[in-house]
């Protein structure tokens, strides 16, 4: 084991909870269950050393109660210099004991799907992480010993919460700091502690929550890379993914409340892209298009799609755009419709509203080998790669390439929208 060199110079410690897991992310963790799990996590340490932990009731439910160890569920930047990073990655941290205001404070990443007592894939066992973090809050550093709850990596649920006992390494560490406990309950179930309800059933891969359903079902009307963030439009709503690929919220935003100037009742956006020459954002809906400056449509819009001068090979004016993007490889704008695409040079377009496709277009979508001919939308992303989205899958064509040896589709839901991976297909022995 390893000690931080810091400890509390008292053995009666107090704790409080300042925020709880978001119900939308961790639906199986009501506040009282969290309180009980944290109580048992403290008990793991007080069973091994002469420590006592008393919970301070928060005034008016969750108001700012003090105490030595203050527990918070926070996401991303939370003003302590140790930002969280969305689901996975870092799960939690705690400050060592001391006289600083933050000493003992314990923060859990609210973007994790917290759970208890089970083995639901993709979720994190709160009890396991809480015992580890409270070890830090009491003065222990990371241990390389196996088994030890103070190993830095998440090891999965530790088992029966109510009968959990520390490993020898952890017991010796805490006893080095606070001495050996004589008498009193040594593990086992304390009759005074509240009972935990049965663990929730494993998280279903297709929950009945309609928002989950929508987000994880794919079939987006449009996808756009706008100023480094990716927007997934579907119906009257959109989801927004930041540059670090974290989701701004699991809940969708209303298009009408963010993009001001689209017609009332807009329930389907065909394609969206950001024009690089002036950073305006172009929306295509049916046979019209809008140009936005930031989040507000510019005056004079909508305009007819015929401004773009797109005609099919048969000479028919195009009345709908299915996908639009700027290919980072050459900076040109590409619009797709009906299995054909047109290329535009918008480097000097500015406010001009009439334009013509480059000569030689339209061309067949089949030139983009290995991707669906009728895609939902396309973006340039990362190192200039082209991402093609269709239903709940996406394909990546590496920078500048039209024909790549292998283009493997991946899951939009899992990779972009924080949905659980579907269970692997089980193969049944053939009789």
């Amino acid at each position: 084991y390893a000690l931080s060199g810091l400890k509390w110079h008292k053995t009666d410690l107090t704790w409080s909870v300042h925020s709880y897991p978001s119900a939308s992310v961790s639906p199986s963790m009501p506040d009282n269950v969290v309180d009980n799990i944290l109580t048992y996590a403290f008990k793991a340490w007080s069973d091994a050393a002469p420590l006592s932990f008393r919970r301070l009731p928060g005034d008016s439910g969750r108001a700012a109660a003090g105490g030595d160890i203050r527990v918070t569920f926070a996401r991303s930047l939370h003003n302590d210099g140790y930002p969280f990073d969305g689901q996975g990655g870092t799960l939690a941290h705690a400050f060592f004991p001391g006289r600083d205001e933050v000493a003992g404070d314990t923060h859990f990443d609210d973007d994790e799907i917290w759970n208890y007592g089970g083995h639901s894939s993709g979720s994190i066992d709160l009890f396991t992480v809480a015992v580890h973090e409270f070890g830090h809050a009491l003065g222990l550093s990371h241990s390389s010993t196996d088994p030890s709850i103070m190993r830095p990596y998440y090891q999965g649920p530790v088992g029966d919460i109510q009968n959990f006992r520390l490993a020898l390494d952890d017991k010796l560490a805490i006893q080095q700091l606070y001495g050996v406990k004589d008498g009193g309950p040594q593990g086992g179930v304390d009759p005074d502690l509240p009972r935990l309800p049965s663990p929730p059933p494993p998280r279903p891969t297709q929950p009945s929550d309609p928002l989950f359903h929508e987000r994880c079902q794919g079939g987006f009307d449009a996808v756009a890379n706008i100023r480094g963030e990716v927007f997934f439009f579907k119906g009257e709503q959109f989801w927004r993914i930041k540059q670090d690929r974290s989701l701004v919220s699991l809940n969708p935003a209303q298009i009408k409340n963010f993009w001001l100037g689209l017609p009332q009742g807009t329930n389907k956006v065909d394609a969206v892209y950001e024009r690089k020459s002036d950073s305006s954002i172009i929306f295509f809906i049916g046979s019209q298009y809008w140009v936005f400056k930031d989040t507000v449509a510019m005056s004079g819009y909508p305009r007819p799609l015929s401004d773009w001068g797109m005609r099919t090979k048969n000479g028919v004016l195009v009345d709908r755009v299915e996908a639009a993007f700027i290919w980072a490889h050459n900076g040109k704008t590409y619009l797709f419709s009906g299995g054909e695409f047109w290329r535009f040079d918008e480097s000097r377009v500015g406010e001009q509203v009439t334009r013509q496709p480059e000569s030689g277009y339209p061309r067949d979508n089949s030139l983009w080998e290995g991707v669906p001919a009728h895609m939902d939308d396309i973006i340039s992303w990362g190192e200039g790669d082209a991402y093609f989205f269709k239903d709940n899958l996406y394909w990546v064509l590496q920078n500048g390439r039209l024909n790549q040896a292998v283009v493997t589709p991946k899951s939009i839901a899992v990779d972009w929208l924080r949905c659980p991976a579907p269970p692997p297909a089980t193969s049944h022995p053939q009789s």
């Binding site: 870092t90 799960l91 830090h136 550093s141 990371h142 390389s144």
Partner: protein, 87 residues
């Protein structure tokens, strides 16, 4: 060209205390030897094969969810803490 996972791994090793963070005044660069040593310590601490290279087992461990606190609180960190206390 340095592979993307290499710079990510160096960042990871610095964050969790295996590599001294670069000094902004001297723009200290990490040596190949120093990085290999750091990888070895990380592998030993994490209980995987000690190879000194970013093999798949090591990269997998680096991508395992974990606590934000560093594994090694070395001299650099201790010194910084002392300096802060003195100030």
């Amino acid at each position: 060209a340095v592979p993307a996972h290499y710079s990510t791994a160096v960042d990871w090793l610095s964050r969790y205390g295996y590599l001294a963070p670069p000094d902004p005044r001297t723009s200290q660069l990490q040596t190949k030897d120093g990085i290999e040593k750091a990888i070895r310590v990380m592998q030993r601490f994490g209980g995987v094969h000690e190879t000194g290279v970013l093999d798949s087992e090591t990269l997998k461990l680096m991508s395992t969810p974990r606590c934000s606190l560093p594994d090694i609180v070395g001299n650099e960190n201790m010194l910084r803490r002392k300096r802060r206390r003195k100030r």
